[in-house]
Symmetry: C2
Subunit: 156 residues, 2 copies
Amino acid sequence: MASHENIVLKPIGVVKTAAVGNQVKDKTRISQIVIRDELAEALEGIDDFSHLFVLFWLHEISNENQKTLKVHPRGRKDLPLLGVFATRTMLRPNPIGLTLVELVKAEGNVLTVRGLDAFDGTPVLDVKPFDSWDMAKDAKVPEWWTKLESEKTKPR
Amino acid sequence: MASHENIVLKPIGVVKTAAVGNQVKDKTRISQIVIRDELAEALEGIDDFSHLFVLFWLHEISNENQKTLKVHPRGRKDLPLLGVFATRTMLRPNPIGLTLVELVKAEGNVLTVRGLDAFDGTPVLDVKPFDSWDMAKDAKVPEWWTKLESEKTKPR
């Protein structure tokens, strides 16, 4: 497959949450990921992990927003104008969300997780177990990130 | 968008590497990610991060393999048969790869990275900066994972 060809995905499930608006950013919030029935078997053994990466489709981003190349982090004009790939903005060419969550419970085709910042009805593309290969203890981040973090807001 | 609808993605770029076969698993290996020219601007500021997540399309997985629901980790029959979502196998309904890499250099539309386990020509879907929100220091993993790790092989 050449890099210019289109790729077609089918969601593996959907997010269920009572949170609305900015409430989804509350990292203590519980959500459900309801996996398609026919894929339930693919969850076997997942509950031996405490944390998962969830890949989801930011379905509220329009085609027009996918053309955005630069943003101010969190829309803050006092922070530098940056390329979208240097931020976690939802406005990206392929609006795929990636969030590390805590797995609370796996039961049948439903994963109960803590800390998923996705709206109710969000299509889920994949879930992957988290392990120490996914971690960089000595990672360097920019000053603008540290500034946002020090304000105790989610810098994305 | 309902969870049963298809999602269409267009790669943002492509992996370039001299590594072939299992050489791509060598975490010291250097690869390039060549971003589409028209998206080069979206990289501005990325070099202030030391680590990135790369999301890529496992383009060598056939449709048939996407139907696999259970695997033995690394094909090892001495390890339990697990759901694909409990492993990092390439055989998943949506074969998206996710790897944490070290950013060595960003120049024009080319990212030079260390530790990307993707073949030459792999379509890249997204790059995201890594920060401490992506890290779970106290993460729990299963015994089979610890066993593989203790053998100093990559447990995926």
